[in-house]
Symmetry: C2
Amino acid sequence: MQIINYAYLCCCNGNINQKKRRSAQKMLQKLQQLIPFEERAVGRRVVLLPAGKVADSVFYIQSGLLRESFVEDGKDITVQFFFEGQAVASIESFWNGKPSEVAIETVEPSVLKVFKKADIQAYLEQHPESGITIAQFAYSRMINYYHLFLSRIKDSPEKRYKLLLEEYPEMVARIPQHYLASYLGITPVSLSRIRSRK
Amino acid sequence: MQIINYAYLCCCNGNINQKKRRSAQKMLQKLQQLIPFEERAVGRRVVLLPAGKVADSVFYIQSGLLRESFVEDGKDITVQFFFEGQAVASIESFWNGKPSEVAIETVEPSVLKVFKKADIQAYLEQHPESGITIAQFAYSRMINYYHLFLSRIKDSPEKRYKLLLEEYPEMVARIPQHYLASYLGITPVSLSRIRSRK
DNA sequence: TCAAAACGATAACATTTGTTAATAAGTCAC
DNA sequence: GTGACTTATTAACAAATGTTATCGTTTTGA
């Protein structure tokens, strides 16, 4: 059971539906009794993990809104958003111990539960079946990025905005437009135009 | 050792450098002594796995050139190319047993070694340490898609073409231009223009 | 070998997005 | 509250790409 928990802890980021999110939250509640964590309240626009730093924590979002981003040619690009009930880490950095290519920061003031890598590792060592855990985690993350990838290359920015509006209206309503634009791969000006032409 | 082999069998797709490819090929040679396979010679434009079908094979490319693609709004979009010495499967379908979102087909006439899922599973069952194997496989695939994803959202089509020309000139030389265009996310007409203006 | 198909270049025009700038409304911190 | 900053809209123009079509050339497959 803990195996699934951990898979969810690290996997349930990305745009997931209500059912999946509730399921993941249940799992994460149990997990919080197994691995120690520290609660942390932060304001908006606080950088939790700067690009270039090695990730040593997983952030569970009690309340608030986070985003994963990077800067290329002076442009700020948003990769994903994360909401309450989800868990976030710069996964490649977290597992490799390499500097993160992406930054993680708050969009809104947030309350987080911070799990340290050392504590997670200690837990995994006590549970040898964690081999399956890691596989599930890595696999789910792969699927997540795969779908993000496909959505970017399949559709025009305009179509992607419309799909987002249909499927995740709460995202569109809540996320500042210039972040949404960088997530859609366009400029804020262009997003404003798309919105205005119906 | 077999663990790493299998990881490579499934991971060494994507644009990898010469060193990595040689290493992977060595691994795959050993692997061919462990898991039964069938050799298959096919012409160009042969669909090995149609979109919608469940993947039950991994294709090792003895010679030739394959591509992974899907059709959206009547447009044919190339996700990745695969060359000799690489192994290919529609990974999500292969592991989930779900219908594949993508098709796999030959670009050039190719000679393939076909490993059946049942044979791979039988091998994994005989080697309980395969837990690590699957993790490595899934993780590597994730990194692969992650970087494909980042390259798509970071750079303009023109910049991506130039980078491809610098890093993988053999790809540009060998792959028909209209496939390259769909890989870069543009029309053949637009690629032709980019090439002509320098 | 030869007809059909595939491929790539080019042109003309439409559409979309980027860029820069001005403006107005909203928010935050003091 | 108030001034500074942030955010979103709109306009005008530039740049890039899409769309459609034509035209040689090459390749393919029978």
